[in-house]
Amino acid sequence: MKRQNALLRDLRENRVKWLMLLPAAIVVILMCYIPMGGIVLAFKEYNYHDGIFGSPWVAFENFEYFFQSGKAWSVTRNTILYNLAFLLVNTFLQITCAILLSELAGKWFKRITQSVMFFPYFISWVVVGAFIYNMFNYEFGAVNTFLESLGLNPVDVYSNKAVWPFILIGVSAFKNVGYGTVMYLASIMNIDGQLYEAADLDGANMWQKIRYITLPGIRPTIVILFLLAIGTIMKGDFQMFWQVTGNNPMVLEVTDVIDTYVTRSLLQLQEFGMTSAAGLYQSVFSFLLVLLANKLVKKVEPDYALF
């Protein structure tokens, strides 16, 4: 009884805050909770006539194709490793850029740099894929044309497995660093200016200020963004992998992620149940990873854990 009263009182006292939460909560309920019922599709053989809930159950049959050809492990591994690499490289670059920008004095230069860095975030992967193709294609690509003009031998990037992880990490940074930089920059701007003034009085140099004030100051942001990113670690950015590599079978071994593999398998089959099965596999793993990561964070920094 007492608890309920507390909740009611809270609703009354903080109604503005609750109201502010409302739109986001509605969106999440509409877009995420209600469709969640569709998970049953993963265990059904879907037909239009009976609809989602009326179609016959098939237990785990929809999952079989994924494990049958023995590629489940390699694509899962690729997905996780790529996302980890993106996470580490992008976070590192984002923080570095944010700190550099915050240390810059020129207001205009800062603004312009920020905008220019942010811009790639809006370019579609299809266009990025075209950039890459025009840079690296063997006959008329920019890179080979340049090499030939220097009298060097052309390189065949599209059949070279070793370079693709770097290209993918590179384009991921190209697209996402600007976006993250802005978030970290905002977080740096929130640090109390008095701390820096005090440090100045104590004779701290720039490195010491970064090391002892800025980095600890943005730690909560880093941890939260990291935890959120963990949630999507099983989900390869489909557009990126499909468009940038051009779905190139010669380098699949190192570029194939769960989403591209599933697409190639089901392109002609149009089986909703099997697609849902792959989605469910990713979601359940992501969920477990988030729980695990949160537990770790809780152990180290109890204040920053999500829940």
């Binding site: 939460l21 989602i52 194709y65 050809s69 063997y138 999507t232 590599t245 989605g279």
Partner: protein, 527 residues
């Protein structure tokens, strides 16, 4: 205060985590499961058309500029005859593969859709996406179609013994042709491209002398298998009666030897011609006839040819017809030439299912939809309008079976408005001013054209979906490499591919094929 913050944080955290959880690739939507409107309310006493209805029809492609004008005329006629009008919606080529299955699931209210064996006919029919057209319904609501329907077409349209489509009433030959640059052929002294040797000489001349061109720019999803298929057909045909028939869908990589009385299903890899074909393709690829990066090509070879980036293109005769007219107008200096690429292999008489129209299983007015289709398909006025546009605006008649395109036809082009499902031999008009040697080519093909015994074989994949998915994946990756000749060790790579297919469960797949092929042969004895 502190408690509030904690509570808020908790709610927020829950929201975040669960959104991450459920946002991960859910295709499920909260579609309603309302019971379908009970079909068959029509009485046996004949069509009741007292209630006016608007039918929604989905077509594929980009909406022609004058589409609304044309359909205004069609609707005038339909309103008069059957008290119905049609509202046309288009889904573009770039999105139809995703959108097509979705509109069946979306709960949207619509009635008619274009379909074909290459355009989800079988998939949607087995998923109960289409309204069944019974013999009785055909006779009641589509008497003109019932009369003109080719019996083979009706047979071909059957899925598990039931028909869900009005197939086109139109016999079509398909064969590959080469389209080449006459100016370049003359420059390098090539007279014709009738044999592979001629083609090789021409392509070699381009490789040697035109460094800014890719001689034959294949590799896109549209044409990646063209060269391989052509060479396969030629090699296979050389075996005469022992030729191999690839079973549809071709991405299952299975075939049978036509003369084999037991019709043993095998992988194309295990035929005695695969290695020869592979070596031939590989030779072309090694000589630089197409890009070293052909596997990531997104532009198809006709587009490349049209843009002047390549010297030769391989295409279907039907594609060549329209491209030829375009290029004659755009680049008369190229002196575009068309040659038979079949090398003696027989042209294919297309399945009637290559184009057709179907009715949505949840359509509110399936009977009226069928009546409308009957008019679109057989009524000279409606059919002419749909296929070629408005007479006097887009075209003018030349005799009973010909027409001349007028300048305005750019707004509603001849036979390119997704009208293919209602093509009808009885009302068909051919366009004047096509490829000069077209008649000669067609006559030549007609002498040995074949419809292919297994052309209408329809594979029921319901028991082996997982294997189909796994083999599709291989077809879209490793097999694609071989089709374009990307291999340094043909025999080794073939063995690797066999092992992969083995792991993918190809044996189970072939057993399913075998059983169905035998059943098919039982019901479709060879002529």
């Amino acid at each position: 205060m502190k408690k509030t913050a904690k509570l808020l944080a908790l709610v927020l955290a829950l929201v975040l985590v669960l959104s991450a959880f459920s946002a991960c690739g859910q295709t499920g939507s909260s579609g309603s499961t309302a019971a379908p409107s009970s079909a068959g309310s029509g009485t046996a006493s004949g069509p009741d058309i007292s209630k006016e209805v608007t039918l929604t029809m989905y077509l594929i492609g980009d909406r022609p500029v004058d589409n609304d004008l044309v359909f205004e005329k069609i609707n005038e006629r339909l309103k008069e005859e059957i008290n119905a009008t049609i509202d046309v919606k288009f889904m573009s080529w770039s999105e139809y593969e995703q959108k097509y299955p979705l509109i069946f699931a979306s709960g949207e209210d619509w009635d008619i859709i274009f379909t074909a064996d290459w355009c989800f006919y079988n998939a949607q029919a087995t998923k109960q996406g289409f309204w069944e057209i019974t013999q009785e319904a055909l006779e009641t609501y589509a008497p003109m179609s019932a009369e003109t329907m080719y019996p083979e077409a009706w047979e071909q349209a059957k899925v598990d013994g039931k028909v869900y489509m009005l197939p086109m009433n139109y016999q079509e030959l398909t064969a590959y042709v080469w389209m080449a640059r006459g100016d370049l052929m003359e420059k390098y002294g090539i007279e014709s491209l009738d044999t592979f040797e001629d083609v090789e000489a021409y392509l070699q001349a381009i490789v040697d002398n035109e460094p800014s061109m890719i001689p034959l720019d294949v590799g896109s999803d549209y044409d990646r298998q063209f060269v391989f298929d052509l060479m396969w057909n030629v090699e296979s045909n050389a075996r005469g009666d022992d030729r191999y028939a690839v079973l549809p869908p071709s991405n299952m990589i299975t075939c049978v030897c036509e003369s084999d009385p037991e019709a043993k299903v095998m992988s194309t890899l295990d035929t005695d011609i695969f290695l020869d074909v592979l070596n031939h393709v590989k030779d072309w690829k090694d000589r630089g006839f197409w890009s070293k990066n052909a596997v990531v090509n997104t532009q198809n070879n006709t587009e490349s040819f049209q843009a002047g980036k390549s010297a030769l293109a391989l295409m279907n005769i039907n594609t060549a017809k329209s491209l030829y007219a375009t290029l004659q107008a755009e680049h008369p200096e190229w002196d575009v030439q068309v040659f038979d690429a079949m090398n003696g292999a027989p042209a294919t008489i297309q399945s009637y299912l290559a184009n057709g129209m179907s009715i949505f299983s949840k359509s509110k007015n399936p009977e009226r939809a069928l009546m409308a289709l009957d008019y679109l398909r057989n009524d000279q006025i409606c059919n002419d309008l749909f296929c070629y546009g408005i007479e006097g605006v887009h075209w003018e008649a030349v005799g009973d079976h010909g027409l001349k395109s007028l300048p305005d036809s750019t707004n509603y082009a001849y036979d390119s408005n997704c009208n293919w499902g209602v093509r009808n031999d009885a009302t068909w008009r051919t366009v004047e001013g096509g490829i000069p040697n077209q008649d000669e080519l067609v006559e030549n093909w007609k002498t040995n054209a074949r419809s292919g015994h297994y052309l209408t074989f329809v594979f029921d994949d319901s028991e082996v979906k997982n294997e189909v998915a796994a083999v599709s994946e291989i077809y879209n990756s490793d097999y694609k490499l071989l089709q374009l000749g990307f291999t340094d060790d043909p025999e080794g790579d073939m063995q690797k591919l066999r092992d992969k297919l083995q792991a993918a469960g190809v044996e189970k797949l072939q057993e399913a094929f075998q059983a169905q092929v035998l059943a098919f042969n039982e019901s479709h004895p060879a002529e």
